[in-house]
Symmetry: C2
């Protein structure tokens, strides 16, 4: 049996998404073996992140300050807000470097079966932001899952009451994708949304 | 772009075995979101493990003390030493609760192509231990891989010079295994080592 210190480290690592008991054991051993190169820097990074990070009170992004660097950046276009389910989605969009507006992180999707209603997401905050003068477009970039699309429809209705323009991401053939390997739904959507060339 | 504190945490997590950039991002977000339940305990566990753990000078196990709890346990049979490649293998054998002797962790396998020779493993320490009076058997429990078996053969020769009895783990059908799904090598080994019933 490993020492209790190792046991505890393994059991905590095993709770992280993507790690099970076996990979947690491997990760723990890897860290302990490379104490100076891996373990100490990781401990330090965890401590620093835990101390410094906070949730942006405006958009729900994680940053060392609130409003976050996206909300505070004067060069970003404050007239367009892109609504995402999760901070990871915000990061994914930022990696594309093709959106220069602001974000709003919902914190999940509507899911009546799990008891998650509009009040459990940051929808009230989004409506408040959408009502402000100068907002021209809300891009609803929830996932193309059933839960994500349900949430998108709900948001479109609520935002429609305010009278702000809403849009959603295009469905279609992924860049580099082959038609033969695509699911029927995506292919049908791509056909329906075909564009002149 | 996430804050530099998050970036650094993600890049350190991504270096752990079993985690890539995407799963490291998910793990980092999971931790930051559940700061009190996940992040703080993990930081604490890392710090504690880093402070407390040391390598047993006798067998190479990791423990809070040296000699480790296995080497120091008077109820374990000091006449039998089980040689394993790695601490993870020691843990795996301990989980079976069917070995009550002591261990010796090699720290890897011989690999001339990677420049890993006998001096890079703890073979000298093993030979010293094997020479002591009272040692009756060395079980060579290296992996059943080419590198593991090469190392096992080398160890058998060196230990043979000392005159101590060596043994190796049995090859055969895994418990619960179906013959049809077994590779030919294992099946041939199981047939060759068949036992009266």
């Amino acid at each position: 049996m490993p020492a209790p210190e190792i046991e505890q480290l393994i059991s905590l690592l095993a709770k992280l998404p993507g790690l099970g008991p076996r990979s947690a054991r491997r990760a723990a051993l890897h860290m302990i073996r490379r104490r100076d190169q891996v373990m100490t820097p990781l401990t330090e990074a965890l401590r620093r992140a835990s101390d410094a990070l906070q949730t942006c009170q405006t958009c729900g992004n994680l940053d060392t300050r609130s409003p976050c660097s996206v909300c505070a950046d004067p060069e970003r276009d404050g007239r367009v807000i892109c609504v995402v389910e999760d901070i990871a989605d915000l990061w994914a969009l930022e990696r594309t470097q093709s959106f220069r507006g602001r974000y709003h992180v919902l914190g999940g999707t509507l899911s009546p079966l799990d008891g998650i209603g509009p009040d459990d997401l940051t929808i009230a905050g989004l409506l408040q932001r959408a009502e402000k003068p100068g907002i021209e477009e809300i891009i609803i970039a929830t996932n193309a899952t059933v839960a994500g699309q349900t949430t998108a429809h709900y948001l479109r209705e609520r935002l429609g009451e305010i009278g702000v323009k809403t849009s959603r991401l295009a469905h279609g053939v992924p860049v580099g994708g082959e038609l033969d390997y695509l699911d029927d739904g995506t292919l049908a959507a791509a056909l329906k949304s075909r564009r002149d060339m």
